[in-house]
Amino acid sequence: MADNPQKPVAVTRPTSPHLTIYRWPVTMATSITHRITGTGLSVGAVILAWWLVSISNGPEGWQNFHAYSDTPIGLLVVLGLTWSLVYHFLNGVRHLAWDLGYGFEKNLAERNSMMILVASVVIAVALFALAWTGHGGYLR
């Protein structure tokens, strides 16, 4: 049998959206960051459970928790979770605004993407600095 002229040609063009080919718009970065922080916060929920259990175990439990949380790695985890919560909160509010039909204009979405990225870092560092410098603990 002769070659089939109808034989499909292998298509090697990139499919869309192609992460390795497109230039990353900032909205793509904020989108994946929302997912990463959400997943991180899910792990943080386990730490919240651990913290609550440690409090319910009295002074020993508390000390046991702080033996981990007061280490440099522990503080880094707390800082990471603080930033994740602030970011996920701010970007989550933006998602709700999108659900209501607001804020889809390209320039606006790009601008507030940058604002959310910057603001989340500033707020997280500020919260950490407040706690670090003894301005937290007002429930004492």
Binding site: T39, L41, L48, G58, G137
Partner: protein, 126 residues
């Protein structure tokens, strides 16, 4: 009522994915609830930073705070459950791994929620 489905489509049985917009909607409902609860959680965490277990115990033993922490835990883990499902749906494409991960997520979320709630009740009862 007449169906718009073609007979072929009916035979193939590739209809709805069963849950429609419910998942989307529950994600939004939990996120709206988490706006005030997260603000309260942040206020509580900063307020307890650098204190001791007596302060934390007394704070969480107060009925309002126990209720708010319980609500924060429940809505957070419900929201986490829905979000993690989407992550698995998007990135895991083999049936076995997907079922395993979905079950692992479901059981983990219930275990973490139950642990948190038990601890909160225990603190309030101390």
């Amino acid at each position: 009522m007449n169906s718009a489905e073609t007979p072929l489509h009916k035979v193939r049985g590739m209809g709805s994915s069963h849950s429609g917009t419910g998942h989307f909607w529950h994600e939004r409902v939990s996120s709206v609830a988490l706006i005030p609860l997260s603000l309260w959680f942040g206020y509580a965490m900063l307020g307890l930073a650098g204190t001791n277990e007596v302060t934390a115990l007394q704070f969480l033993a107060h009925p309002w705070n126990a209720i708010l922490m319980g609500a924060f835990v429940c809505f957070s883990l419900w929201h986490a459950y829905l979000g993690l499902q989407v992550v698995v749906d998007d990135y895991v494409h083999t049936a076995g791994a997907k079922i395993f991960l979905m079950l692992a997520i479901r059981f983990s979320v219930i275990a973490v929620t139950a642990t948190c709630l038990f601890a909160i009740v225990r603190i309030a009862a101390l």
